[in-house]
């Protein structure tokens, strides 16, 4: 169905999700890349030995979740904006989801935003914990969202704001 709608299915997502035990331990990269395309910047970005080198540049990324420290370098390097960092150890009830963001305005730390799922469906209003700039060359921002723990594997973007050219 992903190739008809653009929405990864629950089964797709399952294939890239670490164990609950690993999620609870602390930040970890979730690489939602489900199609073999010639692309490997994530493997070069990872200095932790967590994203394994590819035999063929068309291979899907493979993770060793135990080596991942959630540094997020891969998130800002992925040309497909397909990598998210989930930290289920944030508090007893909340998790942090870090998302790549390339729209304006970039939300500010401390502000409230509407989180959406992989289909763009609104899931609620969440607080922005932190915003990281990718720098003048990379330009991709990383937005840290505080979400209820049970939504950590569902929140994947925020509703766009800013200038609309509609009436």
């Amino acid at each position: 169905m992903l190739n008809k709608t653009g929405i990864p299915t629950a089964e797709d997502v399952k294939t890239v999700t670490p164990s609950q035990e690993r999620l609870n331990k602390g930040p970890v990269a979730i690489i939602e890349c489900f199609q073999k395309i010639p692309c490997n910047p994530c493997t070069e970005a990872c200095k932790q030995g967590a994203i394994l080198p590819m035999q063929d540049i068309n291979d899907l990324p493979k993770m060793n979740f135990d080596n991942c420290n959630g540094c997020g370098v891969c998130l800002s390097r992925c040309p497909g904006l397909a990598i998210f960092i989930v930290d289920a150890s944030y508090s007893a009830t909340e998790a942090i989801v870090r998302i790549p963001y390339e729209y304006v305005p970039v939300p500010e730390a401390g502000s409230e935003v509407v989180g959406v799922d992989r289909a763009g469906k609104e899931l609620g209003t969440f607080k922005v914990e932190k915003v990281q700039s990718g720098g003048p060359k990379n330009k991709t921002y990383t937005v840290w969202l505080i979400v209820p723990k049970e939504m950590a594997m569902d929140v994947r973007s925020i509703r766009l704001g800013g200038v609309r050219h509609a009436n």
């Binding site: 190739n3 692309c39 910047p41 397909a82 763009g120 200038v163």
Partner: protein
């Protein structure tokens, strides 16, 4: 009688393939002249604001315009490369003379080798009122927004879910324009699924097996009727939807810009997998006209990453044939060929590989 410009390698087209060819040939010591129809080098790269795929060797992770700046810089800083911008190549003649036009002047060039890197042009589809103001090609939308800073309208219907349709939809949203939907006649999304997912989670529906029935409006586009297609690509009655949009953007594919190949009498073949008529060529991209090479979309529509590698391969090969890089060139050729087969080895590259096999299959009719 106008003067004839002598040059070792003439490159027609200053996009990713042409610039890569120029840099590679000049690095081996050849003197190069690049003709560019536009006022500025870079081709389509200057409008690409997204990060490119591929590997480090093709600048993956950098944005298209950044790669364009890099390639332009490399050529401008190389004393072996001369650039004539605002110059349109007109013809390649039997005696080897190439003619061009600049500022209303007719120019003559006598190159020892030629590399054609003319790129591709956008396809059009037929539907009622497809000539109405408000209907754009995706390339025009990119030029308006990303070169001139002008949005094409307020609410857009994108036609085509290949990489161009997906990327231009994303860029429209980045510019604050609403995208009502992306429709695609094929039953599956043609572009990279990571691009599709990025747009979908921003709330834009991607409707596969859908087509446009008509555009309507008084003086310009006010809406479009779309409908669903069955598995035989026929409209399903009762599935019509009326979308209120002021822009319809067409991203329905590209055709290789091969007029100069035809005119230069290269043997041509129609290969659907390569998106149209393309010239026969050997592994080193030399066509059936000796000394005439092709690189990039003109030799079959593909991604910019492979266009850059093809450009490099053609540049090395042309320089090598003039006696440059005696020791180094074969090694560089082998590296470029290895990169090309690496880029094309996955499922996304199968169409191109099949096209190239068909192109070089001697059994079928040539034109």
């Amino acid at each position: 009688m106008s003067e004839v410009k002598d040059i070792e390698i003439l490159i027609i087209g200053g996009g990713p393939a042409g610039l890569s060819a120029a840099a590679a040939a000049a690095d081996l010591g050849a003197s190069v002249l690049v003709l560019e129809r536009d006022g500025k080098l870079g081709g389509q790269l200057v409008k690409q604001t997204h990060k490119f795929f591929g590997s480090k060797k093709q600048y993956a992770g950098d944005r298209g315009f950044q790669i364009g700046d890099l390639l332009i810089g490399t050529c401008e800083n190389n004393s072996k490369v001369e650039v004539w911008s605002d110059t349109t190549a007109l013809g390649i003649y039997e005696d080897g003379v190439v003619t061009a036009e600049r500022d209303g002047k007719h120019l003559k060039i006598k190159p020892k080798k030629i590399i054609l890197a003319t790129g591709a042009s956008e396809k059009m589809i037929a539907f009622p009122n497809n000539d109405m103001p408000g209907i754009f090609g995706a390339g025009a939308v990119q030029t308006l927004m990303n070169v001139h800073g002008i949005v094409p309208g307020k609410r857009v219907l994108m036609i085509g879910a290949g990489n161009i349709g997906l990327i231009v939809s994303y860029q429209l949203m980045q510019a604050g324009v609403e995208v009502a939907a992306i429709i695609e006649a094929a039953p599956a999304i043609g572009g990279y699924l990571v691009h599709a997912s990025k747009i979908r989670r921003a709330g834009v529906p991607i409707l596969t097996s859908h087509t446009i029935q008509e555009a309507y409006g008084k003086d310009s586009v006010e809406g479009a009727i779309i409908c669903q297609l069955d598995d035989k690509w026929q409209a399903i009655p009762g599935t019509e939807q009326d979308l209120k949009v002021d822009v319809i953007c067409l991203a329905v594919g590209l055709s290789p810009l091969t007029e100069l190949c035809f005119q230069a009498d290269c043997q041509m073949k129609y290969v659907p997998e390569l998106s149209g008529h393309v010239p026969l060529r050997n592994d080193y991209l030399e066509t059936t006209r000796p000394g005439l090479y092709v690189a990039g979309d003109v030799s079959g529509v593909e991604e910019a990453s492979s266009a850059m590698v093809e450009g490099r391969l053609a540049g090395i090969s042309a320089a090598f044939s003039l006696g440059y890089g005696k020791d180094l060139a074969p090694k560089l050729q082998a590296e470029a060929l290895a990169e090309l087969s690496e880029l094309r080895s996955g499922p996304a590259g199968q169409k191109t590989l099949q096209g190239i096999r068909k192109l070089m299959d001697k059994g079928e009719a040539l034109c």
